[in-house]
């Protein structure tokens, strides 16, 4: 399938600091691609370059086969963009804000399109309220509708799930998935909340300090993570014996007491989990629950930037 977004050695320097360093991306049509990394990793700068809003220092890029520097309007006509901390004209209603975007895009049947989008993001009731009265989460939803007004081939979403309640996050992610599957929209989303978005991404790139440190499907990246995952075992009483048993199993590295009462967290090779459980049960421990503490990419995520910020589970 053709590349929707492609960058080669894309670099951006501000004075002394290199914000994006030799970025190579190749995102296929209809793919949902996650750009993951802590705040300040260069995600937003990358997005601004792809939109032609910021000049790269070096390197090349193609959006739908076009260079955004040479064909800015053609690119902007086909790329919907939801900025980080999106803002609207406070004095205009949500609907009026969308109408302005629609007019700039010369959308024909705009009232119908706008009604439809407001419904999709669940803002019909607040549509005729001034945007200045919207909550952060409502603005985020309106921003989603705003990015979709032009019926884009590519959707670029900068931190689409921040400031939204968990229910809203699920709705937004569901919407992203549907757009990709039903309308073959290519989605590039950035986030610092890995757990929230990994489920919806076909592929992710982990972006730290301007460079991609890992790239692939969430599954591949997890498999690449040789070594160990953390598993929580819960017992019906008698944790002490279970602890000594766990310690005796050769493939288990490290055992600590878990936060849940009567639980232990062991670090082990995921391939040996079944044998470990067997060993515990045959030894007589009353095992009532087993749970991987790390989600698929959590280990990678922690390895690269746990020290830089708190990872919200």
């Amino acid at each position: 399938m053709a590349s929707a977004i492609r960058t080669i050695d894309l670099t951006k320097r501000y004075d002394e600091a290199t914000v994006v360093n030799g970025l190579d991306l190749d995102i296929e049509t209809g793919e949902v691609f996650g750009l993951l990394g802590p705040n300040g990793a260069g995600k937003t700068t990358t997005i601004l370059m792809l939109l032609g809003l910021t000049e790269p220092s070096s390197g090349s890029m193609e959006i739908l086969g076009l260079d955004p520097r040479r064909h800015p309007l053609e690119v902007k006509r086909r790329v919907g963009y939801l900025p980080d901390a999106v803002g609207f004209y406070d004095d205009l209603t949500g609907r009026q804000n969308l109408r302005f975007t629609a007019r700039l895009n010369q959308i024909d049947d705009m009232d119908h399109t706008i009604d439809d989008l407001l419904g999709q993001v669940g803002l019909q009731a607040a549509a005729d309220q001034p945007a200045g009265e919207y909550s952060r989460g409502m603005k985020q939803r309106l921003g989603m509708a705003d990015a979709l007004v032009k019926d884009p081939s590519i959707l670029i979403l900068d931190e689409p799930t921040t400031a939204i309640d968990p229910e809203g996050v699920a709705e937004i992610l569901d919407m992203i998935r549907r757009l990709a599957v039903e309308k073959q929209v290519t989605v590039l989303l950035s986030s610092h909340l890995l757990n929230q978005v990994q489920a919806v991404c076909d592929r992710v790139a982990i972006f730290v300090a301007g460079s991609v440190v890992a790239q692939g499907t969430p599954h591949d990246l997890a498999a690449e993570q040789v070594g160990h995952v953390r598993v929580e075992f819960r017992f019906a009483g008698d944790v002490a014996t279970a602890r000594s048993r766990l310690g005796q199993i050769a493939t288990v590295d490290d055992v600590i007491v878990g936060r849940v009462p009567n639980s232990l967290i062991a670090t082990l090779d995921p391939g040996t989990l079944a044998d470990t459980v067997n060993g515990l049960v045959s030894g007589g421990s009353k095992l009532v629950g087993v749970r991987r503490v790390d989600d698929d990419l959590d280990a990678i995520y922690r390895r690269y930037f746990e020290t830089r910020e708190e990872v919200t589970a």
Binding site: L48, E55, G143, K150
Partner: protein, 328 residues
């Protein structure tokens, strides 16, 4: 191959260029519904009404004695009367800058503060259409207000004087109105430039307001101080004249001076000169009525200078905005 390369830039040129109209119509609607529009209209309206009532009263007294006063109607704008210390054109020259500043000072950094700029710039319009649309909308609302004020003055004048303006007077008023719009556009361009360069609306309001106040309140003092340094009046023969000439030349950098000078000539057919009235030039000042074309012949230098200053400021704002990067 050649056709391919020839077509590529075309694709950009063929792109719709109507985006500035969409921006301008939104901005104009914003201005007209804004609180600042209502407040400015009320303040200027009340002040103008007071000035005109006073002026028309004075003119009535004069007109009763003299049968043959030329351009009686335009005297509304140029006559000085007791409660108001200066004529209406001076009043406009001092207060109208506020209009331009109010509709320009947050035009670009307001978008930045609301977080709407990245969204706006990611729409398929050229970046210059954003600033052009905003500037055009500003001029639009300024034109509406100034036209309304002039019509208001004319209305009060007709009512109080019982004299209808002649065609010559109306054409003088129209030319003056255009001149006044350019004058206010100068201040709008200045405010827009500052709003491109600064991030906070408070700062970008203060800078043009500061320049306006300094020129309006201390302009005369400043110009004479500079003139005294450049060409001191040391009592030598002709030194006083040289000093006055220098002061006049320096005062020409102020848009307020340019506007006052141009307005006086445009609205008073008996004023046939600008600048210093020296002995050699006294023939130009001999009272004889000029027609509009003759008046225009006299005032084209300040008019063109003002237009050029406005154009330069807008060009600076434009270039500055085009070169600015959106930053993360």
């Amino acid at each position: 191959m050649t056709t391919e390369t020839a077509r590529e830039p075309r694709a950009v040129l063929d792109a719709p260029g109507g985006g500035w109209r969409v921006v301008a119509s939104k901005e104009l609607a914003d201005h007209l519904y804004s609180g600042r529009f209502v407040v400015l209209l009320a303040v200027l309206g009340i002040a103008t009404a007071a000035a005109v009532f006073a002026a028309s009263g004075a003119i009535r007294e004069v007109a009763q004695d003299a049968e043959d006063v030329t351009a009686l109607f335009l005297k509304l704008f140029t006559v000085t009367t007791d409660p108001v210390p200066f004529p209406l054109i001076i009043f406009v020259s001092l207060l109208a800058p506020l209009l331009g500043i109010m509709f320009g000072f947050d035009s670009v950094n307001g978008e930045r503060a609301q977080g709407t700029l990245p969204r706006l710039l990611s729409q398929p319009i050229h970046r210059d259409e954003v600033i052009l649309g905003k500037f055009v909308a500003g001029i639009g609302v300024i034109s509406i207000m100034l036209t309304a004020l002039v019509a208001f003055v004319a209305g009060i004048g007709i009512f109080r004087l019982g004299v209808t303006p002649t065609l010559a007077e109306i054409s003088r008023l129209v030319v003056w109105l255009v001149f006044a719009i350019v004058y206010v556009a100068f201040w709008q361009a200045l405010a827009t430039l500052v709003s491109v360069r600064t991030n906070r609306a408070a700062t970008s309001a203060l800078v043009p307001v500061g320049i306006w106040l300094v020129l309006a309140l201390f302009g005369t003092f400043l110009f004479s101080a500079v003139a005294d340094v450049i060409s001191p009046d040391d009592g030598a023969q002709g030194a006083d004249l040289a000093n006055a000439e220098a002061e006049y030349l320096i005062s020409q950098i102020s848009p307020i001076t340019l506007f006052q000078e141009g307005s006086t000539v445009l609205l008073d057919p008996e004023v046939g000169y600008t600048g210093l009235l020296t002995f050699e030039r006294v023939d130009r000042a001999i009272v004889s009525e000029l027609d509009l074309l003759q008046s225009l012949g006299v005032v084209w230098p300040p008019m063109v200078a003002l237009l050029a200053m406005t154009a330069v400021l807008f060009a600076l704002a434009y270039v500055s905005f085009m070169r600015q990067e959106v930053r993360a």
